[in-house]
């Protein structure tokens, strides 16, 4: 394994002062170390890529740059001046503009207003000139080449359009440093090309751009330098011209991909879930697939491709317009999770805090929440039986908690995820839908969760896994379904699934670089 520990490597060229420079920043949240050594130096007029696995600390670093988090230690300079941002406004004033992965627009305000909020152009009497604002917004969209009506409200915009608006906002700010956290995740090929040309022209005007992406084709196509992070630490910085994709991947992962995911082969049984021609206007169309007992099927694709939406419809949370869902040979009624659960389906949602758990309730109560009707005597909950069941499942999954009575909010992310799993396993399911099983979980617990999933499949449970992490998909899945823009674009067997084939199907822009 190559050792490129050039952690003290500032700008290679030396004489130029970087427009933004963060050195050895650390940030902990209680016992969790989110960032151990965040180091990045961005120069004016360069596009700088930041790559790393999920959980490598990229997001924390971005939040520090944005002024949302205050580093516990480290040195932070903008244009050679030491800075300590107390809030977002100060970061913005210093010329740093951040585009987040998930756009944060104000749904009730107009598109133009979303772009110019806080610095709306003023007209007569010092009042906001709506006309100027709309005109300016229109100009921005022309520049980006997208037909969005600046006067409409933001509510109901697609993720792609919201992303465009965020980019327009940042461009209009004339930022010295533009941070883009996976801006292309939900954009189509044409939109990506447009964005890139804007990014390049911004660079040529002297803006420093930090570009975070999982798509290596984009990184190598667009960026001048690449910084790699792993496990919250800075690893290396290279000029793009000097490295290969393989090199970067090795540094990112730091170990062999194959060893990461202990997928044990399982006996594949009968069809448990059959989805046939499922459609929902504007969300997904003509989705058909099967999941068999003991099989792990991964639903891959970019954020916003409609994966979660399909899963929610299958589980009965969301409605659908057409199609059939058959579970264990019986047709499922739409929009009725209770029936779905009784039939033997479980759903580990992507957002633990909002969807997976009731954070204020104790571990025990969370575990038995799915079984409210099971441990009852004459309609009343039998506290003893409930506690025993919770105890048993937490033990089996090795949930680390002081007591079953602790509120689940006191646990670490990984242990919370185990509680969610325990909650579903307690229902003795035939099929588990797992949406982003390891999001926001530290590396150690991650492999534990993977082993668990693998075990479950081994015991004959059908698994439908949604994941944005390519290694996870490739490592875990028996079969990979790739979605793009609401449709299934490829179905790949374990043997056929490789980064190229999956990425190709996920992005129409042929991402054959990897």
């Amino acid at each position: 394994m190559q050792q490129t520990h050039s952690s003290r490597s500032g700008p290679a060229e030396g004489e130029q002062v970087p427009v933004l420079s963060l050195s050895h920043a650390a940030k902990t949240f209680g016992p969790v170390v989110a960032l151990a050594d965040g180091t990045i130096h961005i120069e004016a007029g360069e596009i700088h890529a930041l790559v790393g696995e999920n959980g490598a600390g990229k997001s924390t670093l971005v939040k520090i740059l944005a002024g949302l988090h205050h580093p516990d230690s480290g040195d932070f300079q903008v244009a050679g001046q030491s800075v300590q941002f107390r809030n977002v406004a100060e970061s913005k004033d210093a010329g740093i503009s951040v585009i987040y992965q998930e756009p944060t627009l104000f749904p009730d305000l107009s598109v133009a207003e979303n772009i110019f909020i806080g610095r709306q152009p003023k007209g007569r009497f010092g009042l906001i000139s709506k006309a100027t604002m709309v005109r300016e917004a229109r100009k921005l969209f022309e520049r980006l080449g997208v037909p969005i009506d600046p006067t409409r409200i933001a509510e109901g915009l697609s993720i792609a359009d919201q992303q465009i608006i965020e980019i327009a906002k940042a461009i209009s700010l004339d930022a010295k440093v533009l941070v883009m956290d996976e801006p292309t995740a939900a954009l189509s090929g044409v939109e990506v090309e447009r964005l890139f040309s804007v990014a390049r022209s911004l660079r040529d005007r002297g803006t420093g751009i930090l570009f975070i992406s999982h798509r290596f084709d984009e990184v190598f196509d667009l960026c001048d330098r690449i910084t790699v992070m792993r496990d919250g630490r800075y690893i290396s910085t290279h000029r793009t011209a000097d490295v290969t994709v393989e090199q970067i991947v090795r540094e990112m992962v730091g170990r062999d991909i194959g060893a990461l995911f202990p997928k044990t082969p399982a006996e594949i049984g009968d069809v448990v879930l059959k989805v046939d021609g499922l459609s929902r206007a504007g969300v997904f169309r003509d989705i058909s697939f099967e999941v068999r007992a003991g099989e792990i099927v991964a639903l891959a694709g970019l954020v916003g491709a409609g994966r979660t939406e399909v899963a929610r419809a299958v589980f009965g949370i969301d409605p659908y317009d057409a199609g059939d869902i058959t579970f264990d040979g019986r047709k499922l009624r739409p929009r009725n999770p209770q029936v779905t659960i009784t039939a033997g389906m479980g759903f580990v949602p992507e957002d633990r805090r909002k969807q997976g758990l009731v954070m204020d309730l104790s571990v025990a109560r969370n575990v038995t929440l799915t079984l409210r009707n099971k441990y009852t005597t004459a309609g009343l909950i039998n506290g003893g039986a409930e506690r025993r069941a919770a105890q048993e499942w937490s033990k089996r999954l090795q949930v680390k908690t002081g007591s079953q009575e602790y509120a689940v909010s006191t646990l670490s992310g990984g242990n919370q995820q185990k509680v969610v799993l325990a909650k579903w396993l307690a229902t003795d399911p035939r099929l588990l839908i797992i949406d982003e099983p390891t999001r926001g979980i530290d590396v150690g617990t991650k492999s534990e969760v993977h082993r668990l999933i693998s075990d479950l499949a081994g015991r004959g449970i059908a698994i439908l896994m949604i994941s944005s992490e390519l290694p996870e998909v490739l490592g875990m899945a028996d079969r990979v379904l790739v979605m793009r823009e609401g449709r299934i674009t490829a179905e790949l067997d374990r043997a056929d699934a490789n980064p190229e084939s999956v990425m190709h199907a996920a992005t129409s822009s042929a991402g054959g670089t990897l």
């Binding site: 230690s73 993720i159 589980f315």
Partner: protein, 360 residues
């Protein structure tokens, strides 16, 4: 009330962090400590403390007569507080309860004055309350309208219907035996006979909330409607039935009011909704939903009721009384916040200090 209709993905991505926000976040407590130190327990202690104080300091307070009069006064609030607790725990609210009670009272008066058999009049009034609850439930659970706005509307509507039904009249000549029953006491205990029924209602809602799968689901709904639907809770249906329950109990309160005061009028129980909500919040139920207990709420209702009665017995003006009620309400929500704000501030200061130490 914690639902937004926004459909854009506005997950608070940059603010919320999956990791814990504060190192000093209180550790979860185990069973016994939870019960002894919970927010609702505070109200219970305050009630006990005040009862002791009143018994010592206020002459004649410690007597069965107090029990009787005090309970007769708090029964309407106590009744309505039960469904209200459940509704607020799910994160919604019902402001129309007092108007439902008024509507029931008016209907009962008109029916009785019109020669309807008293039992039939009672039954119809109760059904009217249930219908009112179903109306709320339909608008909120089925159409998905915000409960606060809907029940402000039905607050006006139901009170308006009461006025339409009975106008400015009052009906007073209810059967003597019945009205006497409503103020009668159980033997020498001073406890009103109707308390038996009230206790049944309290036990019903207590068990429903704390010992049934349905109740368990309400907490989940209050924390996050999403999380609740992911575990198979039918959020809409649960909400609907809560409002029906609220309507039914409000009707009972209206009937009680009419017969206790022997007067069916359109303005009966007006303004009671605020008293109920104040008591429920004082009892430790979080207005955000997801937290609260029936024992805490009962203590909250009794605390306000006892304070009321004791102060009246001590001939303290009602002026003091409403001020104290208001202050209690503010204190009960502000005090915990101030505590955590202080901790937050300390944490920030500590981090800052270590930051500067390392930086230099």
């Amino acid at each position: 009330m914690s639902e937004t209709t926004s459909t854009t993905s506005t997950a608070p991505a940059p603010v919320a962090d999956n990791t814990k926000p504060l190192a000093s976040e209180p550790k979860g407590r185990t069973g016994a400590a939870r019960i002894l130190m919970g927010r609702d327990a505070v109200t219970i202690y305050a009630l006990i403390a005040f009862l002791i104080y009143a018994a010592i300091a206020i002459p004649r307070f410690a007597s069965p007569v107090t029990t009787g009069f005090l309970l007769l006064d708090v029964i309407p609030v106590l009744l309505i507080a039960m469904p209200m607790t459940l509704i607020i725990i799910t994160g919604d609210i019902d402001l129309s309860v007092a108007s439902t009670a008024g509507l029931t009272s008016a209907l009962m008066g008109v029916l009785w004055a019109g020669g309807t058999d008293i039992w039939l009049a009672l039954a119809i009034s109760l059904l009217a309350g249930i219908a009112a609850g179903m109306f709320n439930g339909f608008l909120i659970a089925v159409l998905g309208l915000p409960s606060l706005a809907v029940t402000i509307g039905t607050l006006a509507l139901f009170r308006g219907l009461a006025l339409v039904i009975i106008g400015d009249n009052a009906v007073a000549n209810f059967p003597k035996a019945l009205t006497a029953f409503f103020t009668s006491k159980i033997g020498g205990t001073g406890i009103p006979t109707v308390m038996i029924g009230v206790v049944v209602v309290m036990v019903f809602f207590g068990v429903l909330l704390h010992f049934t799968p349905f109740g368990r689901g309400l907490y989940a709904m209050g924390y996050s409607k999403e999380a609740a639907s992911f575990v198979g809770i039918n959020v809409a249906r649960s909400k609907f039935w809560l409002y029906v329950g609220s309507g039914a109990v409000s009707a009972l309160a209206g009937i009680y009011w009419t017969l206790r005061y022997t007067s069916a009028r359109s303005d009966n129980a007006s303004g009671l909704e605020l008293a109920v909500i104040a008591a429920v919040l004082l009892g430790g139920v979080s207005i955000f939903g997801g937290k609260g207990s029936i024992p805490g709420v009962i203590a909250g209702v009794l605390l306000i009721g006892t304070l009321n009665y004791a102060l009246r017995l001590a001939r303290v003006s009602d002026v003091v009384l409403i001020t104290v009620t208001g202050l209690l309400l503010i204190l009960s929500v502000v005090a915990p916040s101030i505590g955590s704000a202080i901790r937050q501030w300390r944490h920030t200061r500590r981090v800052r200090r270590s930051f500067t130490r390392k930086a230099t």
